[in-house]
Symmetry: C2
Subunit: 384 residues, 2 copies
């Protein structure tokens, strides 16, 4: 039967954009060198520091997060450098791929997908390779739902004068606790289309003073992603190249909303939604794929025996209008992932659990309707 | 705790507007006498006939539904006329009030709120008052959730040359089955902000040939709501006064969507949502207020003993961002009403049931979380 079908986004990015930001972005274009634009850039510059919890500059690049990752490599390292890379999923692999593309030798710490790297493993790798110029890691591995112990790793790297800690926080920034300065995170990369609630198209990079010293010495080829140039422009409330003005105007709106609600409240909100989803899928007899270090930003769930996870995501999308994510690379067909960050509320969490129950029943999974919902309701009732 | 709060509208109007219609209405204004506007009016004119299931003209007025109701009185009756009015709720009372304001004498059939008028009562009233020029009724009484037997009443009135049947279908048109021509409904009034999925601001009125003969003889004072003048303008794809151009451009979009899904599918969709809500609230131990003739457009529910319905609607709105309706007039504080028409999907129905469960538990109503949801899930699983 044909019926009205609305669209819901519960994949780990792009995430829904608040209507106020959509309206802000629909305004006529202003010029990126105009006097109207400078105060906008000045405002978002400060608000990004609030979200990043840093006193350092946060560069704004017109690219997606991967551009920020590439820049983090090409602006801090030199050809022939070695770097420790935590490879615990799809995005850990990306760090290694970028290093290789630019002649940096990755020393990979390979972690079974779904498991977490320990601070001891980082320490051991640094002892074995004291010449490593950087440690590349994610705040959490979006592909597996594992959150890494950034604070502890920061404690290890901070005293090594010759090594920086470079964090891909693309799907984590604004969603989970990331204390850039207090945790000694030298380079932190974020993206617009995740917890910052914007369309894709902006990357953000913060660099510590230690990291800026690396920038001075870096000899890797770069042109568009030139952090020194961006830093100089940012001091004049500009960007080095054309600014993505509409996205930045939208960013001003979403950052205002984040400040208005308060970062700590948003993080608590995400944790609450994450708890509800994780408890609900367990009550439904499903297994969380993530073995340790459960991220509160995304829940990775194993498809039940005999059911392809792609069938689940297909029914969710086609019959229910809900986009959740499947598994990536070797996890394709094996897991599906539900995000609970950004502009997502508790009602959408109830909705996705309800639709997941109905989807699994359609796929002949043995389930009493409502068992997941009951548990989710109980958790949401703990609301202060 | 502060948290992101989205807004959901599940009151019986205004209802949510599809984003495609919002975008259409955001376009630059066109002039209402311009060549660009005429094909738009021509298209909506035809599509309104599809929704009304009529071959008659459907007039488009720049007013809310009540303006259409006033016009239905002032354009068909004359001073001193008598008219039978079914008063079974707030909107039945409105017909009587308009009649009185214009010197028409209402012969009220007073029905206990929550109960339905029978065709026999109409028949008896007409036998007692054969001079009555009109029978005024609702398609369903939004204030009580009662659906009236329009088809049967149409059979009774159709053979009375001196009496027309005038139907307020403001919150019913496009949501439930209303066969204007086949059921001999002489005047039918609808509004934009209900199942037609637009902001408030447009009323629609269809008149049968029999009704147009009444218009010729009517002597009540009128200027803005002049149906004869509107009919003449409509023949030229215009409106008599300035057309509410943006709303009509939005209407073109929502009518296209209705045609694309199919009126019969939309009605079946609403019935399914209504069934889920009614079963869920019963499973929660609540009582449906409506005693007979259950409308599929709105569910009226009695607040549990000791709980003011206004507390329920307040928590739903303030804590959960969900607007449902309270009771009107003597039902204030006693009932609340959930709408399931227009741009509302099954996920929002799950969401409203979940939020209602949590609201009632917050108000110390004895309820096991999930009991309503379980039953709603079972009904939604019957999806073809």
């Amino acid at each position: 039967m044909k019926k009205p079908l609305k669209s819901y986004l519960l994949a780990p990015g792009p995430t829904p954009v608040p209507p106020q930001a959509l309206l802000a972005m629909a305004q006529p274009i202003v010029h990126h060198r105009s006097p109207q634009f400078k105060p906008i850039l000045e405002e978002v510059k400060e608000d990004l520091q609030y979200v990043f919890q840093t006193k350092n500059d946060v560069l704004i690049l017109a690219s997606t997060g991967t551009g920020g990752m590439e820049g983090a490599v090409t602006n801090t390292l030199s050809s022939g450098d070695k770097a420790i890379v935590v490879r615990a999923g799809k995005f850990g692999e990306r760090w290694a791929e970028i290093c290789e593309a630019y002649g940096v030798e990755p020393i990979n710490i390979d972690i079974e997908w779904g498991r977490c790297v320990t601070p001891e493993q980082i320490k051991a790798a640094l002892e074995k390779h004291p010449e490593a110029k950087a440690v590349f890691i994610q705040a959490h591995e979006t592909s597996t739902g594992v959150k890494f112990p950034l604070k502890e790793i920061g404690e290890i790297v901070k005293d090594k004068e010759g090594t920086i800690l470079v964090v891909d926080a693309i799907s984590a920034m604004g969603a989970m606790e990331i204390k850039t300065d207090a945790w000694h995170l030298d380079v932190v990369v974020a993206g617009s289309q995740k917890a910052l609630m914007l369309p894709p198209g902006l990357a953000f990079v913060s660099l510590s003073e230690k990291a800026w010293r690396f920038v001075e010495r870096s000899n890797l080829p770069k042109y568009y992603f030139n952090f020194a140039k961006e830093r100089k422009s940012l001091a004049k409330n500009q960007t080095a190249f054309t600014a993505a003005v509409s996205l930045i105007i939208g960013l001003r709106e979403t950052l205002r909303q984040i400040k208005e609600i308060g970062l700590e409240n948003i993080i608590a909100h995400n944790q609450r939604l994450s708890e509800a989803v994780k408890a609900a899928v367990k009550a439904m007899g499903l297994k969380i794929f993530t073995k340790e270090g459960l991220s509160e930003v995304v829940t990775a769930v194993e498809a039940p025996h005999g059911i392809d996870a792609q069938e689940i995501t297909k029914i969710m999308r086609e019959d229910y209008g809900i986009t959740i994510a499947g598994g990536q690379a070797q996890l394709k067909g094996k897991i599906f992932r539900i995000s609970h960050m950004g502009y997502v509320d508790e009602h959408e969490i109830i909705m996705v659990i309800a639709a997941l129950e109905r989807t699994l029943i359609k796929l002949r999974y043995n389930l009493t309707p409502g068992v997941g919902l009951k548990v989710a309701q109980e958790i949401l009732l703990k609301d202060k």
